[in-house]
Symmetry: C2
Subunit: 326 residues, 2 copies
């Protein structure tokens, strides 16, 4: 374990412990127990860590940003709970989704409640720069809703372009990472230049992260990734890989991809056929190129981080995110 992964892990454990206390002792239990359920499912806790390390990189102590870090994770989990309902998902990180474990009403309300407590936590760390921090969080929320709506639209729209797709993931995934870094920097009272650089880092790493996610869906190891390999194809999702394949393919291959749209997904036993098509068309490499491109844009922002140690941490983080297998 490198010293950076040890540092990440140390802070992740602190966040884990704070998250487990965030909803404790609140009543009614019928509301907060289900809300706590989704928080117990673990995960990388990437978003709170982005807040913490952005605060540090901008010259602040971790201790100034723990509540804000909890806030972004609560916000993220709000969006997971509601998205899982909309996607009719049965499982999340190997456990039943909230609406399956409980019921629809409980899940809607638990999601709302996670968001309400998220704002409460954010306000605890927003004594300075209050308006800007709150605006950033709210803008993140607006974009996440817009991105999710676009993603739903893509299920029925036939001619989605790569540009549309990038706008969608900018909103659905990257806006939240951007917001995390932005808030972290604002809490530290960073200069405008630093705030902008860290926000841009977050946005670009967010885009790279999502394309990597699309890639892992088809290349990943099922037990490590925690989701069924090829799930996006089975559901007929218009991922970067799929849209790029649709764009590049001709003749018989193109017909195959068009039929996925018509059929709204493929059968499980067709996955390897489509994976081979992706390889043949070179879209796996195209996705890898985009990941390198966006993570490169992210890395270019790190020059504005003053302390070399903080800069190196973000370089390590970028590298481990684009090399991750889950």
């Amino acid at each position: 374990m490198t010293r950076f992964s040890a540092l990440y892990e140390k802070e992740r454990i602190i966040i884990e412990s704070r998250l487990s206390k965030a909803l404790k002792d609140r009543k009614p239990y019928s509301l907060y127990k289900p809300a706590a359920y989704i928080l117990e499912s673990g995960g990388k806790r990437l978003r709170p860590l982005l807040v913490l390390f952005s605060t540090k990189a901008a010259g602040g102590d971790f201790s100034k940003a723990y509540n804000a870090a909890v806030a972004v994770e609560l916000f993220h989990n709000f969006s997971l709970v509601h998205d899982d309902i909309m996607d009719n998902a049965d499982k999340r990180r190997g456990r039943p989704t909230l609406h399956k474990k409980y019921d629809l009403s409980t899940a809607i309300l638990a999601g709302d409640s996670l968001l309400s407590v998220a704002y409460e936590y954010l306000l605890k760390d927003a004594e300075n720069n209050t308006a800007e921090i709150l605006k950033s969080f709210t803008q993140g929320l607006i974009e996440v809703c817009e991105g999710q709506s676009m993603d739903k639209d893509f299920e029925v729209v036939k001619n989605v372009s790569i540009e549309d797709y990038i706008i969608m993931i900018e909103k659905k995934t990257a806006a939240m990472a951007e917001m995390c870094c932005n808030i972290g920097a604002l809490i530290a009272g960073a200069s405008g230049k630093e705030v902008k650089a860290l926000s841009s880092y977050g946005k670009n790493i967010g885009i790279a992260f999502q394309i990597q996610d699309d890639l892992l869906d088809i290349l990943g190891n099922e037990s490590e990734f925690g989701k069924a390999v090829g799930g996006d194809l089975i559901e007929g999702k218009k991922t970067f890989l799929f849209l790029k394949a649709l764009e590049k393919s001709r003749g018989k291959d193109k017909k195959e991809f068009l039929s996925v749209i018509e059929r709204k997904g493929i059968k499980r036993d067709e996955i390897s056929k489509f994976r081979d098509l992706y390889c043949k068309l070179g879209v796996i490499d195209d996705a890898k190129f985009e990941i390198v491109k966006y993570s490169g844009k992210a890395l270019a922002q790190l020059k504005y981080i003053k302390d070399p140690e903080d800069r190196e941490f973000f370089m390590w983080l970028t590298d481990s995110l684009i090399k991750r297998s889950k």
Copy 2:
């Protein structure tokens, strides 16, 4: 029309116009068109008016609080959209509910989105006292979620006390009215005493308003009230009237009320029988007494309002709320 109702109406029209612009030109339409749909259904716009007149009563101009007024109405509509899903309601103010007009996913997301834009609008009017205003709004949101959760719990819990019921409506209904008055006063930069008095006014009038709502359900004129008379009884809702009747009844009457709980509601042709029982047991008068009690508590706070004209407006508002027929 009194001069106060003319004043109310004038400001209501301004709010109506601002609401109609709040979501315009935002994209994607698939998100904002459904969100705008619920805003078009009109209503008293009581909550934004509470914000505006609290600002005025605390010495500020209406113009300082129009965005905050829009914010509370957006927040209120967020809660209506999600509550209608949970209650499986078909109609709202005579129109199909959002999830019936569109679908479940659209309604969940439109609700989330209304809340996100609510925070955006609130921030526009929260340049001063930012943290306090945002805390108040967030606390209102937390309580509305808790109140809705308790209300759902009451559907299955058999022994709900009047005290439980009051706590529930304090959270589900009164907390938002309290928040509106609180925010209005904070925007005007009111003193602590004024802020407290106006907040307390809002809370108490909120409780009175909800008990009045329970009463209108059984006494109201269907075409005026916009909901089917006796709807609460048909759904087996544990309203003030029902809980009080359960508490006061004995023998055969008590069995009737217990059977409503067992059967989870009554049939349409039983409404007049239960209305007669309510009258016989005196719970209609009990409800009227509570309405007078809580509106009296609200009125007692008005002495902290400096301008007699503003004080009179709130007296008129209190009176018209408890005498309303819809």
